[in-house]
């Protein structure tokens, strides 16, 4: 009982904006260093050392950006929707800040997934764009992210805006399994998944290892930017609080 009390106390301190701001400040340099190092390793490995594909030649190297960006575009939507649900149910302010931090980041990653897929499609499929189920559902994901961002601007009251965004984000989660399964449910131009939880990847290990490095690097990059966005959002919303003013005094750099 006493132990669980201490846990809740710690969680509470953690979920308070100043508590999160202080704690996350310690993680930022580590996340930045780890993600930049892994990005550099994955890029050099994937672009320079991984063998070319027997059929696609070197254009397949776009996969080292396309797959990690797509993974995080989808995972980032879950982050946004779960934060929205937590905000709706428990009215945790930090969850709302996380949600507004996740939207532009997710939109940028979805754009990168679509853009890299488009430039990959031209040399391999013979077209930049096709209204295929996978690609169209991914475009819907971009619109959902942009919709959440626009909705936040549309309300004068922060409380109402946060709740409306959370509901939109929750409704939009329907799209995520559709994106995942679109290549299996319908005849589509997009190839099925190379990486599966239940089976070995259909990719040679020499090509797969750098891809794995890039995926881990993108997860770290996502965490890094999400925390940076959340910290800026915290400062903006709490700028009238005493602790932020003290911070501004200390931080004379």
């Amino acid at each position: 009982m006493a132990r669980s009390g201490a846990f809740w106390q710690r969680l509470h301190r953690w979920a308070s904006p100043p508590g999160f701001y202080r704690l996350s400040g310690r993680w930022v340099p580590w996340l930045a260093a780890a993600s930049l190092a892994l990005l550099a390793l994955g890029l050099v490995w994937g672009l320079l050392y991984a063998p070319p594909d027997a059929r696609q030649g070197n254009s397949y190297r776009i996969i080292y950006l396309h797959v990690p960006a797509s993974f995080l575009a989808l995972a980032g939507y879950y982050v946004m929707a779960v934060a929205g649900a937590i905000h709706l149910i428990w009215r945790v302010k930090l969850a709302d800040m996380l949600m507004s931090a996740a939207a532009p980041l997710g939109a940028a990653l979805t754009f990168l997934a679509l853009f890299s897929g488009s430039l990959w499609g031209k040399p391999t499929w013979g077209t930049y764009w096709v209204w295929d189920a996978r690609i169209t559902s991914m475009l819907v994901l971009l619109f959902l992210y942009l919709g959440v961002m626009a909705l936040r601007q549309a309300y004068a009251s922060r409380e109402t805006a946060g709740r409306a965004c959370a509901v939109l984000a929750l409704v939009g989660t329907v799209n995520i399994p559709i994106i995942y399964k679109s290549v299996d449910w319908w005849y589509s131009l997009h190839q099925p998944a190379t990486i599966r939880l239940t089976a070995a990847p259909s990719m040679h290990p020499d090509m797969f290892k750098p891809l794995l490095v890039m995926i881990v690097a993108f997860y770290l990059f996502y965490a890094w930017v999400l925390i940076l966005n959340t910290r800026a959002e915290i400062l903006s919303r709490e700028r009238r609080a005493a602790w932020v003013r003290e911070l501004a005094e200390e931080d004379v750099t």
């Binding site: 672009l47 254009s59 950006l65 430039l119 930017v225 910290r231 700028r239």
Partner: protein
């Protein structure tokens, strides 16, 4: 493990697909740098605004 390309020119050409490969990585570099710079700039601006308000008082 050896590099797959014998020269810088070959590396840039990517077997004729250089425009697509480098187009993707170039745009990604710009977008990702922007993603990192945006919150850092916002934070710096907020703190600067708070300081200048304090000084003007």
């Amino acid at each position: 493990m050896n590099p797959q390309f014998d020269s810088l020119a070959e590396f840039a050409a990517m077997g004729g697909h250089g425009a697509y490969v480098w187009g993707v990585y170039g745009v990604a570099a710009v977008v990702m740098a922007w993603l990192v710079a945006r919150p850092l700039r916002r934070r710096a601006q907020l703190l600067a605004a708070l300081r200048s308000r304090r000084e003007s008082r």
